[in-house]
Subunit: 217 residues, 2 copies
């Protein structure tokens, strides 16, 4: 054993950086809320993980609930921002739809916290999102995405008309979201490792096929 007091650097010059501290708290909170849910998350655990003092959480974010709200809003901003970078208008409608399905799948894989946060928010009956005007604003653009693809497909004569873009949007999310959020109970009930490489490859193909079958003539 050494005489050093902790496993951090012995006499860290302690840099003051409010933005960095806020960022570390948000990152830690996202992890903790995703892993344990809104009720299960521990403020002390967030402070520890963020390498920050618990008092700073209340200094910057007021309460556990407000912290969750901020984490959740940021999560929505992030996914909508990523979607904007897809440039689906340059692709033909079928390819645009396939890319959107793939994007949704990959986003959930790379950001597993997103699904868990949304689940927590729905258990809370969306009480944090209700008051968030910014999230509503960024969501509008997102709904328009599928609508545009659908209209283009119809005018090109490859998609059938009369499809509700909201229903399609929901279904695109559903077939991937459900697979991930229920991966643990699913792997038991179907007696198959749903998260193996081969199972994942199989599922994404099935999902693309499903969505294209909905829209094509």
């Amino acid at each position: 054993m050494s005489a050093q007091p902790t496993d951090t650097q012995p006499s860290r010059p302690r840099i003051r950086d409010a933005e960095a501290t806020k960022g570390r708290i948000l990152d830690a909170a996202k992890k903790e809320f995703a892993r344990n849910g809104l009720e299960g998350a521990r403020v002390d655990a967030i402070a520890l993980e963020a390498n920050a003092n618990k008092r700073m959480i209340y200094h910057y974010f007021e309460s556990k609930e407000k912290l969750f709200q901020t984490v959740l809003e940021n999560a929505y901003f992030d996914i909508r921002e990523s979607e904007k970078k897809l440039e689906l208008d340059s692709l033909d409608p079928r390819e645009a739809l396939e890319r959107l399905v793939r994007f949704t799948w990959n986003y959930y894989i790379q950001n597993p916290e997103f699904i868990s946060l949304v689940n927590s928010e729905n258990l809370a009956q969306a009480r944090h999102l209700k008051t968030s005007e910014p999230v509503k604003i960024v969501s509008r653009r997102f709904v328009g995405l599928v609508d545009t693809i659908l209209k283009r497909g119809v005018s090109e004569g490859i998609f059938r008309s009369g499809i509700d873009p909201v229903q399609l949007n929901i279904t695109i999310a559903a077939v991937s979201y459900y697979y991930f959020t229920n991966q643990y109970t699913g792997s038991i009930i179907f007696e198959r490792d749903l998260m193996s490489e081969s199972a994942q490859a199989e599922r994404i193909r099935f999902n693309i096929d499903t969505i294209l079958r909905i829209v094509c003539l």
Copy 2:
């Protein structure tokens, strides 16, 4: 203020009925776990709701976790039992599939606790279900259901071959499950009341259409 010690009947004759007490606790626990999640649920609240003493919960179910496990297992037994009553073999494959999609939808409506309990279990990485052999057993029959319909449809020349029954099973659940579990955030993001009568009717039609498009030639 009256002199009565509590708000229960002053000298209730106290009937001994272990099974009834257990049942009331399980009902109350199901509601409480569904509403607040595994971590958010309060044992005192369950006791109050069940009109039973908290001590009885630990007498009959040992711990909060074990109580949750029992509630969850019962929920799975119930849905699988209901599915058995569908008699899908007497219908032609297309109708059988439609009935199964409708059943899944209606079951989620009539048993909203089921979805919430499954969500909680997945947040807990299915640690309660892992050790439950009975749930695995009743699940096998369930997977076989869709497989049988699919095979019949192929031999009758109305379904295409090569469809993985597990993928189809997952998709049937997904398109309804996702709609309900995300009803609160969904209603905000799509700026539409997803739970209105008309919205529900629209969704179930869309779901039946989706599933039939997957299997039909």
